[in-house]
Symmetry: C2
Subunit: 216 residues, 2 copies
């Protein structure tokens, strides 16, 4: 019987390295083909292990996928948080922090587009299977952005009419979609170009000015 939890710290046992290889193989294949279209045999092949090893390390294909998502998105959230904290430490404004987070998001996606591709593919499924996992993971990523927005409102840097959750989700969406589009359809552009375009949008240099939306 395998122990249910890996060792607390990170002693690089054979097991943890196998799990890592399985994660890597699975994230790529599933991003390419989708979860159901990817077979456990393919994952095992790509990871260079036998099929049985997959089931020794994970209770099921579903569990493998869940842990994969949790692991990956936590990494993204950490990276965003670090970017925001670093900016704060350097005495930047909150808007500067948001800008730094955009950059961190772009860098992250440039490194592991497959993971984010998975995330957006599954996040809004009405399916029950991974709802709990996905909701919690989404919450953690979203919270990082919301915290910075909240701070900015509190110290008067942004208007207190700002709708924090909606704005956070729009910002996150803007970054994720722009980055994936960049990777898929304009891979020749530099990360600086993409960052500049998003930055401009964030800092109100697109539709800026005293325009008012029409309406009743």
């Amino acid at each position: 019987m395998p122990s249910t939890a890996p060792p607390r710290g990170l002693p690089v046992t054979r097991r943890t390295s196998t799990r890592r290889r399985l994660f890597d193989a699975a994230v790529t294949l599933i991003a390419e083909q989708g979860f159901s279209a990817t077979t456990v045999d393919e994952i095992a092949d790509r990871a260079g292990v036998a099929k049985g090893t997959v089931y020794y390390n994970f209770a099921s294909k579903n569990v493998l996928y869940e842990e994969l998502l949790r692991d990956g998105i936590d990494l993204l959230a950490d990276s965003l948080r670090r970017a925001a904290d670093a900016t704060a430490a350097r005495g930047g404004t909150r808007v500067n922090a948001l800008d730094a987070m955009i950059r961190a998001g772009l860098d992250f996606i440039a490194c592991s587009p497959a993971l984010i591709q998975l995330y957006v593919a599954e996040l809004w499924r009405t399916n029950r299977t991974w709802r709990a996992t996905l909701t919690s993971v989404r919450g953690r990523a979203q919270a990082v952005v919301e915290d910075v927005l909240r701070d900015a409102v509190r110290n008067g840097e942004l208007s207190d009419e700002l709708d924090i959750p909606l704005t956070a989700s729009a910002l996150l969406g803007m970054v994720l979609v722009a980055a994936l589009d960049w990777q898929s359809f304009q891979p020749d552009r530099s990360v600086e170009d993409v960052h500049a375009a998003l930055s401009r949008l964030l800092q109100g240099r697109v539709g800026a000015g005293p325009h008012r939306s029409e309406g009743p």
Copy 2:
């Protein structure tokens, strides 16, 4: 042998109504479960049709899905275009037109979230299967936004330093993600709230002001 193409105009034959029912059934099921996890039997059941009918109307499960995507996203593009044109006809600015498109996008997604859910789930797959279909469909939707941005730059309403394709994709992403998030995680909010939050972002009332991004 079924004729390969449906009638040119739109005479509501028995056949076209069956195809419509199959599209509706398929889009919901696939959005819930994913393409591979959805069986042809389920689609037929949900549409209230025999399995053979599916294959009488579509060459394969794949083809059904392709036509479904093409059909649906064209509807979205049309709806965005109409919103932009209507604003122009009323003499609004281009930024007003973008704002109207945001609203049209939100309304569309409120009506058929499943379709957009499908679209974002598939769009960035590196998979070959539907790449051609998806690329062409994406191009059509993106072009609508780019056209308005281009016009706005041409007549001086927006800076000519604007990166049109990147900004278009960011705007589209912002709307799609915010709308899906709204439907899934905050369905109690009104469409007006969501529109207001996005509008504020578009019109530069979020990070507005003479901030400059940090960096070398």
